[in-house]
Amino acid sequence: MSLRAAARAVGKRLAAAGHLNATLAWSDAELAAEADRVDAMPARGPLHGVPVALKDNIVTTQQPTTCGSRILAGYVSPFNATAVERLRAAGALIACKTNLDEFAMGSSTEHSAYGRVHHPLDLARVPGGSSGGSAALVAAGVVAAALGSETGGSVRQPASFCGVVGVKPTYGRVSRYGLVAFGSSLDCVSVFGRTVADAEQVLAAISGLDPLDATTADRPPLRPLPAPASLDGTTIGLPREYFPEDLHPGVKAGCAATIARMKELGARIVDVSLPHARYAVPTYYILAPAEAAANLARFDGARYGVRATTDGDVRALYRATRGKGFGPEVRRRILVGTYVLSAGYHDAYYNRAQAVRARIAADFAAVFASGVDLLFTPTTPTPAFKAGEKTGDPLAMYLADIFVCSANLAGLPAVSIPVGRFEGLPLGGQLMAPPFEEAGMLAHAATLERHLDATREVAP
């Protein structure tokens, strides 16, 4: 059977979801061409005909890649990202490019030059970010799965807000070739799915060594494991730093119900401590802006995208292009990153943050070495917040990542799954595992998913 009909159905769903402002580029003609391409493949791949959306900081030759920024308006990459090539080889149907916080900097997808993304269940709220467009499309049932990217939780946080599954792999599991760089020591191509199994199939297809990215690990691609019938024999740690007294009552209730279900399923639950976890957000907001300031230096009006007109010299051209091309959050982070790297401050900020990052990673290693198989935490401190609620206060926005960014700092795999709802809004729970233990982590997440009613309202 031809995939043309399936592609038309995807186009209808994309058009119907237009009010979410979740897409940046798609067309019926491209969908039809994708259907024909997959139909013409000599053998069916593992993702044959599965529609997958791509965050618009993952480069493709068929559509522009804007990173949600004016500075890259109309930019078309001459090559596809490795993750895109692997999706295509697996038979996936590339559905569209999705809206995002500019250059993946944000936690609400309000910082896009192309307008904010709306939460599919409540248009007045945000879908989380920075991969909010991808999360919203999966939650709205437009696509089966989507790629996002994580630097500090940008897939798990919107997955939690939107009530879908978000998986961040171990750093090095998936090639970053063709992912527009933000914080190179933190960035990971990551996956959204409606279920753990859907997300895992996509992750398996894109994972593995890539000669075009020297930071990919020399390991075979991820091989999914069957979900166990119970959690017998599994030790799950609850880091006490992730369950503060003032945790949002809905989030607290959702986590408590999930922990109770894990116990019923046979898991051994233990309290653990990650003493440096409280420093994860400040550490992240030194290292990520520092790396961003270096990575975004290439966008100067001379090589990519748009160029400002100026009467001055070449430096005036750079300054005018960057000043007008970048939005306020990106400008802020470039300035903070430049500040912490500048003479006189480098040791106090950047070098210190590198040392604290090592301590954070060592805390995780010690907990896993003590016999803990997985860690469970809330994914976000609150359910989805209202649009505009945090845009005037960058620091309040940064704290939305408080439970997710430590996995990026330590390079660990983590998954957010829906665990219930509070006042109609989805809540997410997070499992974290030792490096390269995605298969076991996702098998246990699938077991838990099977025994949780993610649409059930929790009672604080």
């Binding site: 400040p282 960057r322 000043g323 900020y349 960058p394 940064y398």
Partner: protein, 99 residues
């Protein structure tokens, strides 16, 4: 006060970023709060001899030392605004024109 307007102007110059004078007071206040927040890492105390954490593999597999074609969807000539005799044609820099 961690960050002054002068600091913002200085780092904006280092970052090759034009900042509107009208935006300067708000930007300075926001940067001051952010830098004040991240400065809490000073609380961690003496970190002793902690090496940097390096994400990713300890070492990369060596590849054969040979030149492979880069899989480009478009040829360099298709990307370039102008491409003559195998060379990209770039505009002269304005400072060079002045000299």
């Amino acid at each position: 006060m961690n960050v002054s307007a002068g600091d913002v102007i200085h780092v904006a110059r280092l970052a090759e970023l034009a900042v509107d004078e009208a935006d300067l007071p708000v930007l300075t206040a926001q940067m001051d709060r952010i830098v004040g927040f991240v400065a809490q890492l000073a609380e961690v105390g003496d970190l002793g001899e902690v090496g940097s954490f390096v994400a990713g593999p300890d070492r990369a597999r060596l590849r054969p030392d040979r030149v492979n074609p880069v899989p480009m969807a478009l040829t360099p000539a298709a990307i370039a605004p102008e491409f003559i005799d195998g060379f990209f044609v770039v505009p002269r820099l304005l400072v060079m024109d002045e000299s």
